[in-house]
């Protein structure tokens, strides 16, 4: 099982000091958080994509490419990549490029985005959200698996004889998770392709997570990718920890009360009761997180949101220390002991290459290539 953190890249005023970091400071902070995640032994860092203030992360592959160069082991992912408003051709190109530079330590999580005004900025209509997710991913899926693609669809100009470059590293595309809080169509999509399904698991009661994951698992089996308990599931989660739970509650409350999305609504205590949010001691976080398995089954990836709502970098790094030293080692051991052997581990590039029968150089050399002068042939397995 993989453990990690995900950031939505919000630039929020610290309600306890009234100070908001600038973009430059917050961007450096996110890089620091990613590096720290690797240092404390976490497996994954995932970054959101937004195209409006108060968020900075409009260009996640740039940030992740930089982080890739400064880390050795960390798996890089997104939370989420907008499959609705990005051109699937550009997603195919950008993430294949990142995959090469990161040595395969890349997967991505596709989502529709929750910001209505974004759609028209990119020439789309929010009412087409599901249809865009379906069509754009159908194209993305082909671009990574077929060297030459002819395509015609509703939402972009047709493609004739198009080759997306670079080809996926070792001939194996990045693993894809589909993220959705409550749209059964997206769970169905993940199941159809045999891809992963990720539930945000922060904003809504666990009942929604249970139903979405249950649907995905059932349909994963229906489409013949394996038994329902072999489907690949990821969960979000939100935690804040101090040695004494009262200290955690006292320190986190002002950030909760002012948080974007749910701030100035229910009390911290009510929100903890209604959603998976856990504010307390490391042991409370361990107990609550182990309980997720009771309603989603054995799952492959757990990501925590720890750096939002104006929490200062110093505090976030302390949270990472607690996760790395006290929480994740216990969770790893406990989850591993519970997981039956036939349930797969989280997907990795190495594992997917092995499953594909080994690495191959997938480079496409064109015919009549006036630049390199090479004849049209694919370089075969090395």
């Amino acid at each position: 099982m993989q453990f990690g953190v995900f950031s939505v890249s919000d630039i929020t005023t610290d309600p306890t000091t009234g100070r908001a970091p600038g973009e430059a400071e917050r961007i450096r902070a996110v890089v620091t958080i990613a590096e720290k995640a690797e240092e404390v032994g976490l497996d994954v860092f995932a970054l959101g994509e937004h195209h409006n203030p108060p968020f900075f992360s409009s260009s996640p592959t740039t940030t992740l490419g930089y982080i890739a160069a400064r880390t050795q082991r960390l798996q890089l992912s997104t939370a989420t990549t907008l499959i609705t408003t990005n051109d699937p051709v550009k997603i195919a190109e950008d993430y294949a490029m990142l995959q090469h530079l990161a040595g395969g330590r890349v997967d991505l999580m596709l989502g529709r985005g929750n910001t209505g005004p974004v759609y028209p900025w990119f020439g789309q209509d929010i009412r087409d959200g599901i249809a865009l997710a379906v069509e754009n991913y159908a194209l993305l899926h082909r671009l990574w698996r077929e060297d030459v693609v002819d395509w015609q669809g509703r939402f972009r100009t047709p493609l004739q004889g198009f080759t997306s470059t670079p080809r996926p590293l070792d001939g194996v595309p990045p693993f894809v998770w589909h993220g959705s809080i409550r749209s059964p169509e997206i769970a169905e999509q993940a199941a159809y392709y045999g891809d992963g399904f990720f539930h945000n698991h922060i904003f809504w009661p666990k009942e929604h997570t249970r139903r979405m994951v249950g649907l995905y698992r059932r349909r994963f089996e229906h489409y013949g990718h394996g038994s329902a308990d072999q489907a690949v599931v990821g969960l979000g989660g939100q935690v804040f920890m101090r040695r004494n739970s009262q200290d955690a509650v006292r320190e986190f409350r002002p950030y909760f009360d002012d948080a974007p999305v749910y701030g100035r609504g229910p009390s911290l205590e009510e929100f903890m009761r209604e959603t998976p949010l856990t504010v307390g001691s490391p042991q409370q976080v361990i107990d609550r997180t182990l309980g997720f398995r009771d309603y989603v089954g054995d799952y492959q990836r757990q990501l925590f949101l720890i750096d939002h709502a104006g929490l200062p970098l110093k505090t976030v790094l302390e949270q990472l220390d607690i996760l790395g030293e006290e929480v994740v080692p216990v969770l790893r051991k406990e989850f591993a002991a519970l997981k039956p052997a036939h349930v797969p581990d989280a997907p990795t590039h190495a594992g997917r290459v092995a499953a594909a029968g080994g690495a191959r150089d997938a480079t496409v050399h064109t015919t009549a290539d006036t630049v390199t002068g090479r004849a049209g042939q694919e370089v075969q397995a090395r």
Binding site: V134, A138, P184, A191, R211, G214, P266, F271
Partner: protein
């Protein structure tokens, strides 16, 4: 005798409220009208006053908490709905509207609804027709032709006004019972039981 459920939504704020009083009279008349059609009825009352904070939280978080979820399920799962609000500033109250704002927009499709309202003056009476009826039309509910409005004078008035209110209550309840009786028992479709197969999604592009 087969059983139907009537959900009663009351947005009255005082305890006791004339809104709840009207709601109870409508519910009782509804039960009697259904009995006349050989149908037993169970009445479940949702007092929105008790969910005022839950509704505000739902606006902020986007989901109903456990208590509000129960109230929502009561209404969406009922065979018929009696919805009663005080008239504030020429229309239904904000609390009343918020409850219907947080329902799924398909949740009341085809549901028989009886509308009621209370106010301090009869000059508010057409708020039912100009304000509330379009709300339920938008939600594609099936609203009875008769809506029941009660002003202070209806409660305090002499025999003639009091009898007139009773007549309106009885007529509206009869219309509601007829709609409920015509309709198969309410079943709430669960989108997670039977999602659109992916082939349909692809073909629908």
């Amino acid at each position: 005798m087969s059983t139907r459920t009537l959900a009663v939504v009351s947005a009255g704020l005082s305890v006791p409220s004339s809104t709840r009083l009207l709601a109870d009279r409508l519910a009782q008349a509804g039960v009697e009208a259904l009995a006349a059609l050989d149908l037993a009825a169970a009445v479940e009352v949702v007092e929105l006053r008790g969910h005022a904070r839950d509704l505000a939280d739902n606006l902020v978080t986007g989901f109903p908490n456990t208590a509000l979820r129960t109230a929502v399920d009561t209404v969406t799962g009922a065979d018929g709905l009696i919805a009663v609000t005080p008239i504030f500033s020429a229309s239904y109250s904000g609390l009343f509207k918020t409850f219907f704002d947080v329902l799924d927009k398909e949740a009341l499709t085809g549901k028989p609804v009886l509308m009621g309202a209370t106010a301090g003056t009869a000059r508010h009476s057409l708020a039912l027709e100009h304000g509330m009826r379009p709300l339920f039309a938008y939600l594609r509910a099936v609203v009875t032709p008769t809506a029941v409005f009660a002003a202070s004078e209806d409660w305090a008035g002499g025999d003639r006004t009091g009898a007139a209110l009773s007549d309106r209550v009885r007529r509206a309840a009869g219309e509601l019972a007829a709609l409920v009786a015509q309709r198969p028992r309410a079943a709430v479709a669960d989108p997670f039981d039977d999602p659109p197969p992916f082939g349909t999604l692809l073909a629908g592009l």
